[in-house]
């Protein structure tokens, strides 16, 4: 497998214990840790918001294009089971988590919102796992960005449905109940499907698929080659933001840490199972586990803020960005890859 990821299909890797350490110290992770460190020591380092926006647009498009190029070379019908599988998985995650969170004494709005964050996915976590797989020379399905695009929305929709059910008997002040419910659903669907994340990911996939390898050759120098450098810069920024959320952990108590660490591990098992069920490659199983374990911190907070305003936004974001994201990129991903190597291949 080359750095640009031209190979496909099932592959064998080097399942040595040294590879775990090798994966763990992927250079992009250092940038994240640097950002985290800068924040914790109170540095004045701050990336301009315009740069953050630019980097995130770049990453979404680049990930989409890379997946699309691969998609142009295979029969689309064969992907139907995968698409259906990830769709069901991300829809089920909030539903599975809701009763557990309720038992942990979170109110209905927060339980639905936290579940929606886990049901949706983190694109940057996906980028980090693929970087780790490439570095460890483990092949994976190159059309995996399609899974990411499909998994953005269903979890959010399930979260809003749970909130709506949970709010029955409460005062109908939220936007998803009462007479305006229909239009509010339309607005949520519009925001999710045409929101930046899904639009750019799917847009990139379509561009890559239509243009193919030859058609995208002229833009390769911008969208394919510098990808990892841009990812590193973006992780520096995310380190800064996550560092700010870490400081909030104390405010919410121990449950938040437990949820942020235990839930990703359990969801990763679900993702691993789905990966095995779909007969994916070792890398594919690791990606599926990572996607299941990841929590959204872009699409979900925005969508939940509008759809479930009663939920404490700080709580969900502290879990997804302050705990789940750092846990996954630093500790979780090496574990998920290790697990995939043991059970698949």
């Amino acid at each position: 497998m080359t750095e640009n990821g031209q190979s496909v299909g099932r592959g064998r890797q080097r399942p040595t214990s040294a590879s775990i350490l090798f994966i763990m110290i992927d250079v992009v992770i250092f940038f994240f840790l640097l950002g985290l460190f800068a924040r914790l020591v109170g540095s004045d380092l701050r990336l301009p918001e315009a740069l953050y926006e630019t980097l995130s647009i770049y990453l979404l498009l680049a990930i989409g294009i890379k997946g699309g190029i691969e998609l142009s070379q295979q029969p689309l019908l064969a992907l139907v089971p995968e698409v259906a599988g990830v769709l069901v998985l991300s829809f089920l995650i909030p539903i599975v988590l809701y009763p557990v969170l309720r038992m942990l004494r979170f109110n209905w709005a927060d339980s639905a919102s936290i579940g929606a964050h886990f049901g949706s996915v983190s694109v940057v976590t996906f980028a980090v796992v693929t970087a780790a797989l490439i570095r460890a020379d483990i092949t994976y399905e190159q059309h995996a960005p399609l899974w990411v695009a499909v998994m953005e929305a269903p979890g959010l929709i399930a979260g809003v449905m749970l909130a709506r059910l949970g709010s029955q008997g409460q005062q109908p002040t939220d936007t998803m109940s009462g007479s305006s419910g229909g239009s509010a659903w339309g607005s949520l669907l519009h925001d999710v499907v045409f929101g930046k994340s899904v639009l750019l990911l799917l847009g990139g996939i379509v561009i890559g698929a239509v243009a193919g390898v030859d058609g995208t050759a002229p833009i390769k120098a911008l969208f394919i080659d510098p990808f990892k450098g841009v990812l590193a810069l973006f992780l520096l920024e995310l380190g800064l933001v996550a560092g700010a959320r870490l400081a909030e952990v104390k405010r919410f108590g121990w449950q938040v840490v437990v949820i942020g660490v235990v839930v990703p591990l359990l969801l990763a098992l679900l993702g691993t199972l789905l990966g095995l069920l779909l007969d994916l490659s070792v890398g594919g199983v690791a990606i599926m586990a990572t996607l299941a374990a990841s929590a959204s911190y872009i699409a979900a907070p925005t969508a939940m803020r509008i759809a479930v305003p009663q939920a404490n936004a700080g709580l969900s974001i502290t879990i997804s960005l302050g705990i789940v994201f750092p846990f996954n990129v630093v500790i979780g991903i090496p574990i998920y890859i290790w697990l995939a190597q043991r059970v698949a291949g």
Partner: protein, 102 residues
Amino acid sequence: MRLEKYARSLLVIIAEGTLERRLVQDVQRLGAHGYTVTDVRGGGHSGVREGAWEADRTIRMEVVCDEGVADQIGEYVLNQYAKNYGVTIFFAPVQVLRPNKF
């Protein structure tokens, strides 16, 4: 020669960025002829909002309008959003040169 000026109200709404689209619709529906939105950051009852990424954006919306319209918008925003969102609303008297514009 003194310029002729007309009294109007300046309504300022500082709110979470996710509310921007709805606030724009609301102020127009309630009679404002225009509005100005800027990205801001700050802190208060809702904690510190740094505007470092999408979900953390805060906006400042300024509307110059009749006092009655300003009151109506202020009341609506207060009832509709203040319970669940970080919202700050304040009013100030201002003078304008072209009253038809506002």
